[in-house]
């Protein structure tokens, strides 16, 4: 069967293939003969041309390797840094628990203890005087005075020559009293030298100014048609003074010279200077003038000799030469200063390092008290960092010490610093929260909540893919100038983009993108309802936070009856539910009504009991306060309508821009759309930002955030990594 198959099918096929092969060879042979030299030429050309290119690519790769090498090498370090940052980053609302720490050390160990505390960056000094009367001494005053004088000298020198503020410090060590004194003395000598340079520059400036005054005066003299040569020398009967005086002194000087029977004429005013001629009779009163002229800062001007004969151009050249000489002198002085800086650069940097190492002890100075050889210092430390702090002290202090820790008492709460939330994304929002205040210890830190609600409100009020992307893009483009704040712009822009997709809006066009949800302008009532709902939730959450904050500080009465306390919240929610019932079924409902009346009565009774005033005044105040509670909550809730209003406003403005654009030709259309979008971005974007901030600060923060805390600011060693 196989043979039959081979005979019938495969043999004809093989034959056919042979025939095709022969045909192909016959047809391709001439073509191959023609192509071969071309291919050879092509290969040679490719070799000749591509080799340099390959060499260049090789060089570039090598250069890239050498440039990227350090970056690549740095990558693990960077990744480690990012991991560390991520580990430290925290989204928390509750404050970081703090401990009050009291450190008792032997006085000799104080500088080392200060350095160690600075290295841990977890010790916020408590400057209160200790309760123990025996700890009344204040050690280290002399050290501090020395430090301050040295620091002042270094800062003054740094105004003359640049000195790195935070040079790398390779070895953290104690700077002793004697070393600090030596540094101070050395800086005193350097400042004396540097101030001589300063003084020399000033002298040149003064001379230059005076030459310029002379130039101006020369111009003026040459226009006068009197014999000025006569003014150079005092005559037998007349006394002449020609010079410059500060404009402010002219009137008084005029009166003063008149008392010496002299006359003052003004002939030129330039800037703050006035050029004057004083003329009077020679005699006994002439002597009075010298002292007055000196008090008035009168500077005599040399009158050009033989002005009437001399060529004014020659005098001009002379003065110009004087200025050139001064300029040359200035350049020489600059060179001299550069040499001086070169000579002392390393020593000044060493002095800077010594002062940076001495700084922690000086910063701690107000917190330190001593009795004999024992010194005590107190501060606030995050609870989780206390054990590490103790371990570090144990490792660094040579002499015995004692570390006591305890939780802050209720009375101390306003003194305890709050540790701010550390997160790269929250950093710009932290800055905005700080504008209002720092959370008091125990208070909820509003930053995460602020960030979320801010972005939500901004996006919903300014939802547009194109404009949002523009904001985000601009913030990204200017990230170096904006610093960490650029993230704020990026996030606000992205929020706007997100809502733009939901609304189906791009640069105001609503027909280009399909709306993932709905367009505000087509459903205004829905938008208003959502905004009201959002407002109710926002206010309720703010009240809950206010209640929580008061409970934390154990102020039960305020949590119950205070502004935005529990009773207020019950009243508000009852009013909301009653309102919903009224809108739905036309009835307020018995339970909401009862709750409203009871909560208002409770508030009124509470206010009545806490008011110390005559009866009629009490009635009036309680009535007004109760009314204010009702009106306040209604108006505050309605205030959130602006969230919807601005989303509508945004769409309406865009519509107006596009309507205007549609009236124009193609170029006009484009220009109108661009300018219109720019207008919307700048004006409406700014207004929306203000409105969101207003809602956050007034409707949110004023309810639950006192903002009267102070920020955790630990003792630090200012330095760059070595």
């Amino acid at each position: 069967m196989l043979r039959q198959l081979s005979t019938t099918h495969l043999r004809p096929l093989t034959r056919r293939l042979r025939q095709v092969g022969t045909k192909v060879r016959t047809q391709l042979a001439p073509l191959l003969e023609q192509a071969e030299p071309r291919l050879i030429r092509l290969r040679e050309a490719a070799t000749t041309r591509l080799r340099p290119l390959a060499q260049r690519i090789g060089q570039a790769a090598s250069a890239a390797r050498s440039r990227l090498g350090p970056m690549i090498a740095e990558m693990p370090h960077l990744a480690q840094q990012l991991r560390a940052e991520a580990a430290q980053a925290e989204f928390r609302l509750r404050p970081l628990p703090m401990k009050h720490v009291r450190l008792l050390v032997i006085t000799d160990d104080l500088p080392q203890a200060s350095l160690t505390l600075a290295e841990t960056e977890s010790f916020h000094p408590d400057t209160r005087a200790p309760e123990a009367q025996m700890l009344s001494g204040i050690p280290g005053r002399d050290y501090r005075d020395l430090y301050q004088q040295a620091r002042s000298r270094l800062e003054k020198i740094a105004k003359v020559v640049p000195i790195d503020d935070t040079p790398p410090i390779e070895q953290v060590r104690v700077v002793g009293h004697d070393e600090l004194r030596a540094v101070n003395e050395q800086l005193g000598e350097r400042w004396a030298e540097a101030s001589r340079f300063e003084e020399a520059f000033r002298r040149i400036d003064e001379q230059d100014r005076f030459v310029r005054e002379q130039q101006a005066s020369l111009e003026n003299f040459s226009n006068l048609h009197i014999d000025l040569g006569a003014l150079r020398n005092k005559t037998r009967f007349l006394d002449f003074y020609v010079g410059v005086v500060p404009r402010e002194n002219v009137r008084r000087l005029q009166g003063a010279v008149s008392l010496a029977d002299h006359l003052l004429f003004t002939y030129l005013e330039r800037g703050d200077s006035t050029h004057v001629v004083i003329v009077g009779p020679r005699g006994e009163k002439e002597g009075q003038l010298a002292s007055v002229l000196s008090s008035a800062s009168f500077q005599p001007l040399p009158i050009p000799a033989a002005l009437e004969d001399a060529d004014p151009a020659h005098k001009r050249d002379e003065l110009a030469t004087q200025r050139e000489q001064l300029e040359a002198e200035r350049a020489g002085l600059r060179r001299e200063l550069a040499d001086w800086e070169q000579t002392h650069h390393d020593r000044l940097l060493e002095a800077q390092r010594a002062l940076l190492l001495a700084e922690p002890f000086v910063t701690l100075d107000p917190s330190i008290r001593s009795a004999g050889h024992l010194a005590a210092l107190a501060g606030w430390v995050p609870a989780r960092a206390v054990s590490e702090l103790e371990a570090r002290l144990r490792g660094s202090l040579a002499l015995p010490f004692e570390l006591e820790q305890r939780a802050p008492t209720a009375n101390e709460r306003p003194l305890v610093p709050s540790v701010p939330i550390k997160h790269r994304l929250l950093a710009p929002f932290t800055m905005l929260v700080k504008q209002y205040g720092i959370p008091q210890y125990g208070e909820v830190d509003p930053t995460p909540l602020f960030a979320v609600t801010f972005l939500l409100m901004f996006g919903s009020m300014f939802g547009d893919v194109g404009q949002g992307a523009t904001i985000a893009g601009l913030a990204w483009a200017f990230r170096e100038k904006l610093g960490r704040f650029y993230l704020f712009g990026v996030m606000a822009g992205l929020s706007s983009v997100l809502f733009g997709f939901l609304y189906g809006s791009i640069f105001g066009y609503e027909e280009v993108l399909p709306a993932l949800w709905t367009s505000p302008i087509h459903h205004p009532i829905l938008m208003l309802k959502i905004a009201l709902g959002y407002g109710v939730v926002f206010i309720a959450v703010a009240c809950l936070l206010a209640i929580y904050n008061r409970l934390v500080v154990k102020d039960i009465a305020a949590a119950l009856f205070g502004h935005h306390g529990l009773v207020n919240l019950i009243f508000y929610l009852a009013m909301v539910f009653g309102g919903l019932g009224l809108a739905g079924s036309g009835e307020l409902g018995t339970t909401p009504l009862l709750l409203i009346l009871l909560s208002l009565a409770a508030l009124a009774v509470h206010a009545w009991r806490h008011l110390d005033a005559p009866f009629s005044e009490k009635v009036l105040v309680v009535f007004i306060e109760t009314l204010e509670t009702v009106v306040g909550y209604i108006s505050n809730t309605l205030s959130f309508l602006r969230v919807a209003a601005f989303s509508l406003n945004h769409a309406a403005l865009s519509l107006a821009v596009l309507t205007l654009a549609s009236m124009m030709g193609p170029a006009g259309h484009l220009i109108t759309v661009i300018l219109g979008n720019l207008f919307v971005l700048v004006l409406e974007g700014g207004i929306v930002m203000i409105q969101v901030m207003r809602l956050q600060y007034y409707e949110g923060f004023s309810r639950y955030f006192s903002g009267d805390g102070h920020e955790f600011s630990p003792l630090r060693l200012r330095r760059r990594a070595a």
Partner: protein
């Protein structure tokens, strides 16, 4: 000042004027012991027995100045920028005291701590860039630093004069002159409605300063008429420019007193010494201030009058406390606070000269 804040400011000034001390009250205070004074004015912590006399005196004066400057800050709140500027310019006299202390300290190469102990802690609204000046190592460096601020012109002049003469008189005179010149400049910026009453009150202050300086420079320091005139600030009321030009040319103390306009002639008639003139002129200013406070319509003028009287009161209180700290007899303290007349023969003008 716009009409709306006027009633508020006037009410505020009237309420605050309850704190002013009358002559009788000052006389009564002279009879109190130091602990009683401390208790009455809440100064117990400052007059603690453990502190030394100088510290106590310093702390009390500092506290009294703080009280005065705090009240100044309260009073300027409803004022517009020009009015507030005028009252702040008045309050900057304490910054001027500090500046002079610094200058003298640097000039006589006193220890930093010594200088520091004599400086007042002032609130930010009237403070000079003191720390920056304090760090200067020498009077010339101090003047250079001063040249970088609002005192640039006088600092430059002062430095030039100082470099020539090495004495601080010209500089201090220029600083004082600048201070009063600034007040006049600010007065001219205040609206007419308040301006007339302010002109009247501030004029009395400037008349007092002008006349005292004139007599001191001419007869105590022996300066020429030209030099004396140059150091004076023309007043906006009686001792204006032309009158000063005439007065400085007179040769004797009595001639000057006789040539003064009313009410100064009557007020100073029979004065034989500079001390007496100073005392009587002080009385003239406080009388003017009382008149403005009682009858004035302008809130700003009444506020300034209140501050002048308040300052007079707190300084009297300080003199009483200081006198007691020094253990001075009551009679002497009463003379110091002008409750009783000195019965010792006053130095004659000739002696003073």
């Amino acid at each position: 000042m716009t009409l709306a804040p006027q009633p508020y400011l006037n009410t505020r000034v009237s309420a605050m004027s309850e704190r002013l001390l009358t002559s009788d009250q000052i006389a009564a205070l002279c009879e109190l012991s130091l602990p009683d004074l401390a208790e009455r004015f809440g100064l117990e912590p400052l007059l603690d027995e453990q502190l030394d006399r100088r510290t106590k005196s310093r702390a009390v004066k500092q506290a009294l100045i703080n009280t005065l400057l705090d009240e100044l800050r309260v009073l300027i709140r409803p004022m517009n920028a020009n009015e507030a500027g005028l009252l702040l310019a008045w309050g900057r006299k304490y910054a001027l005291f500090n500046l002079k202390t610094l200058l003298r300290g640097k000039l006589y190469e006193l220890d930093q701590s010594e200088i520091s102990a004599n400086l007042y802690e002032l609130p930010a609204h009237v403070r000079l860039p003191q720390q920056e000046l304090f760090r200067a190592e020498g009077v010339l460096e101090l003047l250079r630093k001063l040249e970088q601020g609002p005192y640039s012109l006088i600092a430059r002049q002062g430095r030039e004069v100082f470099e020539q003469k090495r004495e601080p008189f010209a500089l201090e005179a220029a600083l004082d002159q600048r201070y009063y010149g600034e007040m006049v400049r600010r007065l001219l910026q205040v609206s007419n409605q308040d301006g007339n009453e302010l002109k009247h009150l501030l004029g009395a202050v400037l008349d007092r300063v002008g006349l005292l300086w004139l007599l001191r420079f001419r007869f105590s320091y022996g300066l020429s008429p030209s030099e004396t005139y140059y150091q004076l600030v023309p007043s906006v009321r009686l001792l204006h420019r032309d009158r000063l030009l005439k007065l400085v040319n007179l040769e004797t103390f009595d001639e000057i007193l006789a040539a003064l306009p009313e009410p100064l002639t009557t007020r100073l008639a029979g004065s034989t010494s500079l001390m007496e003139v100073q005392r009587r002129l002080g009385g003239h200013v406080t009388d003017e201030a009382r008149r403005t406070l009682a009858n004035g319509q302008s809130g700003v003028a009444r506020a300034l009058a209140y501050l002048i009287l308040r300052e007079h009161g707190v300084l009297a209180l300080f003199s009483i406390i200081q006198g007691q700290l020094l253990g001075l007899p009551r009679e002497l303290i009463e003379i110091a606070v002008e409750v009783s007349e000195p019965n010792c023969p006053a130095d004659s003008l000739a002696d003073a000269a």
